[in-house]
């Protein structure tokens, strides 16, 4: 086992990984940027190294500084978390070159799955279902012919892409040229690579993904599915497992396809095969592989009964994964809501500020993976994810009810969050019926700015008298020791 691991990430996932380290008796090194000097993940680590300025390029994306920090603190491994450099093959290779262990798959696996077009070709060869379409086309005429063969509507996608950039839905031939031009321009700008691929557009698509896990000794199994169809701005906000769309037979089939996909690139450690699922035809198509731990890994942990992060570390340290496919079965139902600092009624735009209040829900089956606490600052430099609220219960109905209560119990003041919005989503008949497709939020559920309720106005008014301007109370208590606060001086001082 490692003696010390550097976590090349921030926020909730850095803390999640550090907990796993502590439980394995491994010491932890945090890294931080200027903006994160007082961040929770820095407090949580055994030691912390400052990387640089707040912009990711100067800190969390700076390969040299990260490796330097690991060497300097005598760490023997680096866990990349998700995002940032987690799917960067060059980073994985650089880590290994520095005689450090990269906690994740091999650089070759990352590279093989990193390109949408190339990975799709690989999967076709391996017999994994892919969306009907073509890769490697260049001329407009080629695309036109392909589109006709596939049948409209078609989807144009950046080969190197992600996050919806360079992606266009084309409904008829007359729209094709403009779509190709603008998509390749956007792809070039975003990824430095203008290659495009074309495929059938699946309108009522569900996003279903399979967690795979393997060791470096050739063992690899899947840990069932996650349904992640509830998205906004092409980003997941709610994930769950099991999916109501899968029968046991379909689950076994798609699971086997995921294992095949992963084995094709000699995959080890934690990974996820994403599929597009067409609920009308019950067809599934390989979309891409995420060659890292996913944000939504907790729902799998709760339903499959495994600590994925601990196993990531153990596998990286050379241990065998001792389980066979038959050792796992799904128990109960788990749902994750991503608590974002964003204004759902204002186009889901980010919200920043200091957390004036932060109270997490608790109780049986309620898990909060959080990167923040009261008094911490949410800045505009990074992802708006404050925390992940994950619930598990005996079945889906009970999990929905538990999530509804937990969302209500979660109190965040100082930034606008999507906590209210997610209550609406969770309570919606479409969600309950498993009908939410990947464009459902933006098509059906756009939140509107609402007038504050009467009791909110009354409570605020009352607070002026009881909390803010209670001058009699204030002068009375002025020289008393405050019984609730450990220290008499105002808070917020930092040495």
């Amino acid at each position: 086992m490692f003696t010390k691991i550097l976590i090349a990430n921030r926020g909730e996932i850095a803390i999640r990984i550090m907990r796993a380290c502590k439980e394995l008796g491994v010491r932890t090194v945090a890294v931080y940027s200027d903006a994160d000097q007082n961040a929770l993940h820095v407090e949580f680590a055994d030691e912390a190294v400052h990387l640089g300025a707040s912009a990711p390029k100067a800190s969390y994306l700076n390969v040299d500084k990260l490796i330097q920090a690991a060497l300097q603190t005598k760490a023997d491994a680096i866990h990349p978390g998700y995002g940032f450099l987690s799917e960067n093959a060059a980073f994985a290779a650089a880590v290994e070159s520095a005689n450090l262990k990269f906690i994740g798959p091999s650089a070759d696996s990352i590279r093989a799955m990193g390109d949408k077009a190339e990975s799709k070709i690989l999967m076709k060869k391996a017999g994994v279902p892919t969306v009907p379409g073509f890769e490697g086309l260049e001329a407009e005429a080629e695309f036109k012919k392909a589109a006709q063969e596939i049948g409209y509507p078609v989807l144009i996608k950046a080969s190197a892409g992600g996050g919806g950039k360079g992606m266009r839905v084309v409904n008829q031939a007359s729209e094709l040229k403009e779509a190709l031009d603008s998509a390749s321009y956007e792809a070039l700008n975003a990824f430095g690579d203008q290659r495009l691929l074309i495929e059938k557009y699946i309108a009522e698509a569900h996003h279903i993904e399979i967690q795979v896990f393997g060791d470096e000794h050739g063992n690899l199994i899947h840990l069932f599915e996650r349904e992640c169809s509830v998205q906004r701005r092409h980003q997941k906000i709610i994930e769950e497992t099991p999916s109501v769309l899968l029968t046991p037979e379909l689950r076994a089939q798609i699971g086997a396809a995921a294992v095949t996909a992963a084995k094709t690139v000699n995959y080890y450690n934690a990974g996820t095969i994403e599929f597009i699922f067409d609920a009308h035809t019950a067809q599934y198509y390989f979309l891409e592989m995420n060659t890292r731990l996913q944000v939504e890994h907790p729902v799998t942990e709760l339903v499959a009964g495994i600590d994925l992060v601990q196993w990531q570390i153990k596998i990286a340290a050379g241990e065998k994964f001792p389980f066979a496919q038959a050792d796992f079965r799904q128990r109960g139902h788990a749902i994750e809501c991503r608590v974002y600092a964003e204004d759902s009624a204002n186009g889901f735009l980010p919200s920043t500020g200091k957390l004036l209040q932060y109270i997490e829900p608790r109780g049986l089956g309620v898990r909060v993976d959080s990167g923040f606490a009261k008094g911490k600052e949410v800045t505009h430099f990074y992802d708006p994810l404050l925390a992940k609220l994950i619930v598990s219960a005996e079945n889906r109905a009970a999990a929905i009810q538990k999530m509804q209560n937990a969302l209500k119990e979660f109190i965040v003041h100082g930034v606008t969050t999507n906590l209210d919005f997610m209550q609406t989503v969770i309570a919606h008949a479409d969600f309950r019926d498993g009908k939410a497709t990947t464009n459902w939020v933006e098509n059906v559920l756009l939140a509107k700015e609402s007038e504050p309720a009467l009791e909110h106005i009354l409570a605020a008014a009352l607070a002026e008298l009881t909390l803010v301007n209670a001058s009699a109370v204030r002068s009375e208590s002025k020289n008393e020791t405050d019984p609730y606060s450990p220290w008499k001086t105002p808070n917020g001082f930092r040495n």
């Binding site: 004036l356 505009h380 906590l419 309720a453 009791e455 009354l458 008014a461 909390l467 606060s485």
Partner: protein
């Protein structure tokens, strides 16, 4: 005591058995069961004066203050109220055309200069926050009157970015 939040004026005063509040023409009785300054939590019973006595349930309100801002959460619903002097508030509509920042963030780039003629829909500058890029576009044909920000600068939500004139 008169307090105004957003456009809502509340007259609120201590009464013998709690507080009495007036909003518009309606009056409400508020019984305060507890106030906890550590958490900013108040347990309240609110009932409309004159209405038949309902089985008044306790409502737990969490209130946080930050300058004139008041964050209020009751039963999982959160509102952000702003305490005002009562003068008519500048409506957000008046700033349509995207000349104020729709989100806090950093100015990525400024694509125009003062005096430059711009077309409706033309990108004037780009903002970035939390991995999102937003283009601030001209709402009408016109000329750049002034630019209040520079690339790299951090802006607050609703901060003025650029002024156009027709």
């Amino acid at each position: 005591m008169k307090i105004i939040f957003n456009a809502h004026a509340v007259e609120i005063n201590k009464s013998t058995d709690g507080y009495l509040a007036e909003v518009g023409e309606r009056r409400y009785r508020i019984e305060v069961l507890s106030v906890d300054k550590t958490s900013g939590r108040m347990d309240l019973k609110i009932s409309a004066v004159g209405a038949p006595a309902l089985e008044a349930l306790v409502q737990s309100a969490y209130v946080s203050a930050d300058g004139a801002k008041r964050w209020v959460t009751i039963n999982g619903q959160t509102s952000l109220l702003t305490k005002t002097s009562g003068a008519k508030q500048r409506s957000r509509q008046e700033n349509a055309g995207g000349l104020t920042a729709p989100m806090p963030g950093q100015v990525r780039g400024v694509a125009v200069s003062v005096g430059e003629a711009v077309k409706k829909g033309q990108t004037l500058l780009t903002l970035e926050a939390m991995k999102m890029e937003i283009r601030i576009q001209a709402a009408y044909d016109g000329k750049v009157k002034s630019i209040h920000v520079a690339p790299g600068q951090t802006v607050e939500r609703e901060q003025n970015l650029i002024e156009l004139e027709v």
